[in-house]
Symmetry: C2
């Protein structure tokens, strides 16, 4: 039985709390939140506190607060036990507790109200030694299935890659949406294509899956498309097309 | 009962043939292919030909050949009946048969071996009059569920939007893959994020769903990310970041 204390009342913390409350082999010993109202719904299921000096003994303390607050919160943890945070960008060294440190990063974009399928979420784990890494792995497997050992350095690269496949991709959806709105085409016509494109990466590498006028270097179509777009969209279209063409040459 | 002749032996044609053979209220009267070997597997299910002069009588002729061949193939159809093509980019006026014309465009990226769920595919239909549009709608509903009336003009805009949400998005996956490969991070860690980002458009507009350093104008993170990337990737990162920041101002 792994004893866990969760520190934080935000989105990720809430998803973790719910998952651990339903898991076997884990005892959620306590939840901390600066504003205790955020976690009030759990008052009958575990102990709550808004005082970091009153943390209970645990095997693992999971800090799931905003990136900026991790240093300060961790410096206030005086209890023994492994202290980890859930951030994708903050390094292990930013944890300022005196004892053992680690990372328990769930690589997913969480929505507040949408239920999360933990079986599909990659747990990116890091610790200072094998024993702690094994502990985090065991803990992750009580609620999830996909476990990866990712160093702080690798995590920083992963974060950049995530900006491309998540933030920038979403922006391209937004441009597609704008074009549809402007010309009175329902954007929903594109939903199945968006879904299919995303699912395809799991069976075919994106380089092999690349189609369209850029990879064919179909200059007529490219010219026709550019004539339809506004200046901002043209800029994007050109840069992405050039990048596809350059990528082909490599 | 709608009598259909399919002209073509490529990916889209094959998916349509299989669907119509399984549909009720449709009689697949004949299949034409220039190279009859492409359609030989259907020889016991319907009539095959490689001669456009020997097309049988039908209510609808579906031309599913390469874009460049549509004009020539359609000019050879002398039979009465509604002649449609399945291209996303060729206009209705490119059909050169003497009689009635229309479009039967399936907006999806088809893979040869992967089975297609026609219930999810948007059928983008166009015809010269209401009666023919109704006929195409009836035909589409024998194998699918989602029917849209899309003019040739709207189709050209839809195609540009599709380049953004499909071709360009796939290229961003490719960049993410390159970054992961370079730093020995398994790209599969990002699959769930890619999937979640794509599915989210159906419940939240992409503009509202936008997250990340660009929309927060988080200059420190942006600078850190740029320092990791190669020149081509930097170019993309900057252009996409600027576009997100500009979009926020509008």
């Amino acid at each position: 039985m792994i004893r866990v204390v969760i520190i934080g009342g935000g989105k990720v913390a809430n998803h973790l709390i719910k998952a651990f409350l339903n898991a076997s082999d884990v005892q959620l010993a306590q939840i901390y939140a600066r504003n205790i109202k955020q976690i009030k719904e759990y008052e009958h299921q575990t102990e709550l506190t808004d005082d970091l000096q009153k943390l209970k003994k645990a095997d693992v303390y999971i800090i799931s607060v905003s990136d900026d607050a991790i240093e300060k919160v961790s410096s206030n943890i005086i209890e023994q036990g492994l202290v980890v945070h859930t951030s994708g960008t903050v390094s292990l060294m930013s944890l300022k507790n005196k004892g053992r440190k680690g990372i328990f990063y769930l690589l997913q974009s969480f929505s507040k109200d949408k239920e999360v399928n933990f079986d599909e979420i990659p747990f990116c784990l890091e610790a200072e030694n094998d024993k702690d890494l094994k502990l985090l792995e065991k803990l992750a497997l009580t609620i999830g299935k996909k476990v990866y050992h990712i160093s702080s350095e690798q995590r920083s690269y992963l974060h950049v890659a995530a900006v491309f496949v998540n933030n920038f991709t979403n922006h391209l959806y937004s441009v597609g949406n704008d074009i549809c709105d402007k010309y009175n085409v329902p954007f929903e016509v594109l939903y199945p294509l968006i879904k299919e494109t995303a699912l395809k990466v799991e069976s075919l590498s994106p380089k092999e899956a690349q189609t369209g006028p850029a990879v064919r270097n179909d200059k007529n179509t490219i010219k026709k498309h550019l004539s339809i777009l506004n200046k901002n969209q043209q800029e994007l279209y050109k840069t992405l097309t050039d990048s596809i063409i350059n990528g082909k040459k490599l």
